[in-house]
């Protein structure tokens, strides 16, 4: 289990518990459930890299306690 912190810098900061082998889409669903938004509107970014939904967190080398940028489209 890892904990990932996502911040949209507009007033929402979510701490999400997840597994390493979860995909980015799964993470988005968990965030959406916690914040009450549509998971399809969520974009996860780290600098200019936009994480794609079908790739696991492990493959993106997202570890425990990392901060991700949370955007909406």
């Amino acid at each position: 289990m890892i904990e990932v912190i996502c911040n949209d810098r507009l007033g929402k900061k979510v701490r999400v518990k997840c597994n390493g082998d979860d995909t980015v889409g799964d993470l988005k669903k968990l965030i959406a459930a916690q914040t009450g938004t549509n998971w399809e509107k969520i974009v996860l970014k780290k600098w200019y890299t936009v994480y794609k939904d079908h790739i696991t967190l492990e493959d993106y080398e997202i570890h425990d306690g990392m901060n991700l940028e949370l955007y909406y489209n």
């Binding site: 289990m1 890892i2 912190i5 007033g11 929402k12 900061k13 979510v14 701490r15 999400v16 518990k17 997840c18 597994n19 390493g20 979860d22 799964d26 669903k29 968990l30 459930a33 916690q34 914040t35 425990d64």
Partner: protein
């Protein structure tokens, strides 16, 4: 802003809703971590392995080191010398011992081998196998109890085929050969040819031609040996032939034993020092082996010389008939030129005989008479003329340098005397003869130079004589001097001239020069004389040499020596003479320089000329002109008349006197204080000279005129002070200041005066 978070249960519930597997509990273990672990383990294993290797290597190294140390242990080359082997002696001994041991071991081994071999041979080689072999020596050569080693004789194959094997002892055969050689030598020393023809009768048989060479060296004749197998038979036979010994041996074994005993008693130990083996290093004792010097036999040659002396003694004692000495043929070898020696001794004998014979009393008397006659001759010589005899020559040779110089001088003096006599017109025939003789004597001389020298010398002498004469006379009567008469001769004429002052004898320097010149001339003449004499001597010596060389007993070596000596002596003499001659050699040299126009230059000018020539430049135009002017002035001064002023005043005065017909000249007349106009043109105004005698020089005349003027013009000139020029009239000027009113009437006189003064100055 609060963080939105969910617990694990909430999250799990959520995940379940979403269709995801629940969260995994515990920390994450990734494959990379496993890989890291693996790597770490691997590295650890490798490290362990390396450590083991190092330990192993160290152990091996230590083991190697120990082994090496074991090899090196002991003494090194450098250390070895510090220890017991520091001495060469010790080292040598040690090496010797080692060598000995080694040799001993080797010898033992070899001996053992040989022993084995011998044993092996002995087993199969017995006495019986020697039977039938011939021995090359007589049975009697072998002594009882003696051990001889016999070897097979060297022979060619053909000989061997013919004669079969033969045994000989090398030492014995060598000795036989030596004996034979000695015998042959003895024979050879004996003269082969005795000179007698009776060999046939003495020896009983006729000899072959050159029979002494019939027996060839090394051929053994009559060498009858024996055969080993048949020992008993020849031995018996030999004993039977040889007389007394055979009887003894035949007598019984007891006698033989006695003989053996005797022989053993007188036996000589044949042990000898075994030959020392050559060693590289010797101990001190061994090294002290000295070598004997072989004694050389001296050949004695003294006997022959003794013989000579004897011969001579005999000759001197009794001059008997010569008989030939018995000549020893053996001694003939020592003196190679017997004939020469004999002839020499003969010559000596003859010489001694002669001297003895000539000194008879009559001869002595004759000699005395001769010598007396020579003395008389000497007297004659003293009386008149010079005679050259052997004695005089000998004396001159003895100390030529000492004798020649004084001898030359008197001769010259005599010549001078004679010349002076001639000049005086009183020439004596005797003197003439003398001179002739002298001339003859110096036949080789250069006549011209001599005569000149003579004449010069004569003149000198003359002058000196006259001077001394006049001086003597003047001391007697100085007041009334007799005039020398011209008719008396050249000398008196000269003296007269000198007395009158017409002829100047010359300054001291000139006299000196004349003297040196005369000396030089004399010196030259002397040299000529000497050279002639030397030439004469040389000729005479050569003649003597020739004479000597004709003598048979005068050997070449003697001649060489004499000639050398003569040459040396002559050279020395020459050198001495030259030195003596050059002692007061004073050449007459005077350097004078002239310029291109022939003027004599003094030192400074000469230097300038030289310098200009050297530097290739001359003085500038101005300087040259100045110099030319100076020269011109000088010439004018020289050409000036000594009796007149440069402007010929005296002659002018004289002319005036002639014209006036009076013995005086009036320069100023009466109160008018002026010279009459008719006179003014010729006379120099203001100056008066009443004296008839001429002035010697211009300067004196000027001085005179000024004084005259001052005395003469003083009273009148006071009127014109401004016009007066000469500073001599200072008192007049004061007068002038008081009497100005008389200026007008004396104006004409003043002008006249002034012009006169001007003229005088210009003259000055």
């Amino acid at each position: 802003m609060s963080e939105i978070s969910a617990t694990i249960e909430q999250t799990n519930a959520l995940r379940a809703k979403l269709g995801l597997k629940p969260l995994k509990e515990g920390p994450e273990t990734s494959s990379s971590q496993i890989a890291e672990d693996n790597l770490r383990r691997q590295r650890e294993e490798e490290a362990q392995k390396a450590r083991d290797e190092a330990v192993k290597r160290n152990i091996a190294k230590a083991r190697n080191k120990r082994a090496l140390n074991k090899v090196v242990a002991g003494k090194g080359l450098g250390e070895a010398s510090d220890d017991d082997a520091d001495d060469v002696y010790k080292w040598t001994m040690k090496s010797r011992v080692k060598e000995k041991e080694r040799q001993a071991a080797e010898a033992a081994r070899k001996e053992k081998e040989l022993q084995e071999m011998d044993d092996a041979y002995q087993a199969e080689y017995g006495e019986d196998q020697l039977s039938g072999l011939r021995v090359g020596h007589d049975m009697s050569d072998f002594l009882e109890g003696e051990e001889r080693i016999l070897t097979l004789k060297d022979s060619t194959i053909l000989e061997n085929e013919e004669e079969g094997d033969e045994l000989i002892n090398i030492q014995m055969s060598e000795q036989q050969r030596l004996e034979k050689n000695l015998e042959n030598k003895k024979k050879k020393n004996r003269p082969v040819y005795s000179g007698f023809d009776d060999d046939e009768f003495v020896l009983g048989k006729k000899k072959n031609i050159l029979s002494q060479y019939d027996e060839v060296l090394g051929t053994e004749s009559g060498n009858d040996g024996f055969v080993i197998g048949k020992i008993s038979r020849p031995q018996r036979g030999a004993e039977g032939i040889s007389g007394s010994e055979s009887q003894h041996s035949g007598g019984g074994p007891s006698a033989k034993e006695i003989m053996n005993q005797k022989l053993k008693e007188s036996a000589i130990a044949l042990t000898y020092n075994k030959t020392q083996q050559a060693q590289d290093y010797y101990t001190k004792d061994e090294a002290e082996i000295t070598f004997k010097k072989s004694k050389k036999k001296k050949k004695s040659r003294s006997r022959k010389t003794d013989n000579w002396e004897e011969e001579e003694n005999q000759d001197e004692n009794a001059m008997e008939v010569e008989r030939p000495e018995p000549v020893d043929i053996s001694e003939l070898n020592f003196v190679d030129d017997e004939d020469l020696q004999a002839s020499l001794s003969k010559a000596r004998r003859l010489a001694t005989k002669k001297t003895v014979k000539t000194l008879t009393p009559e001869q002595i008397a004759k000699n005395l008479a001769e010598s007396k006659g020579m003395e008389v001759d000497d007297d004659d010589i003293q009386k008149g003329g010079l005679v050259i005899s052997d004695v005089s020559e000998f004396v001159s040779n003895l100390s030529s340098s000492a004798v020649q110089i004084p001898s030359a001088r008197p001769a010259q003096a005599a010549r001078a005397r004679e010349r002076s006599a001639e000049a005086a017109g009183v020439s004596t025939p005797a003197a003439e003869e003398e001179t002739k003789e002298e001339e003859e004597q110096e036949g080789v001389d250069n006549a011209r130079s001599r005569t000149r020298a003579e004449s010069e010398a004569a003149e000198d002498e003359d002058i000196a004589m006259k001077e001394s004469n006049t001086e003597a006379q003047s001391s007697v009567d100085k007041i009334l001097d007799d005039e020398p008469l011209v008719s008396k001769g050249m000398g008196s004429t000269l003296a007269l001239l000198k007395q009158k002052g017409a002829y100047d004898a010359g300054s001291l320097e000139q006299a000196e020069r004349a003297k040196t010149q005369a000396e030089r001339a004399k010196w030259l003449a002397d040299q000529k004389l000497r050279e002639a004499k030397l030439a004469r001597e040389l000729l005479r010596d050569k003649a003597r040499d020739k004479e000597k060389s004709k003598d048979k007993n005068y050997s070449i070596r003697d001649r060489e020596r004499d000639r050398e000596y003569e040459n040396q002596r002559r050279e020395q003499q020459l050198l001495d003479e030259r030195e003596a001659r050059m002692k007061n050699y004073k050449p007459d040299i005077k350097l004078e320089y002239f310029d291109e126009s022939g003027n004599r230059l003094d030192t400074k000018q000469a230097f300038r000329q030289l310098s200009h020539a050297f530097h290739g430049k001359t003085s500038g135009k101005m300087k040259t002109e100045k110099r030319m002017k100076k020269l011109e002035d000088e010439r004018r001064l020289m050409g000036m008349s000594s009796t007149d002023t440069p402007l010929n005043m005296v002659s002018a005065f004289q002319e005036r006197q002639k014209a006036a017909g009076s013995a005086h000249i009036v320069l100023a007349t009466g109160n008018r204080n002026a010279v009459p106009s008719s006179l003014a043109s010729t006379t120099i105004g203001g100056t008066v000279s009443t004296t008839a005698t001429g002035y010697r020089s211009g300067t004196t005349s000027v001085a005179n005129t000024t004084t005259h003027q001052s005395t003469f013009a003083a009273p009148n000139q006071g009127a014109q002070p401004s016009m007066s020029i000469s500073g001599v009239h200072a008192p007049n000027r004061e007068k002038v200041t008081f009497g100005l009113k008389r200026k007008a009437d004396s104006a004409t006189g003043a002008t006249q005066d002034e012009s006169a003064a001007k003229k005088t100055r210009s003259d000055a």
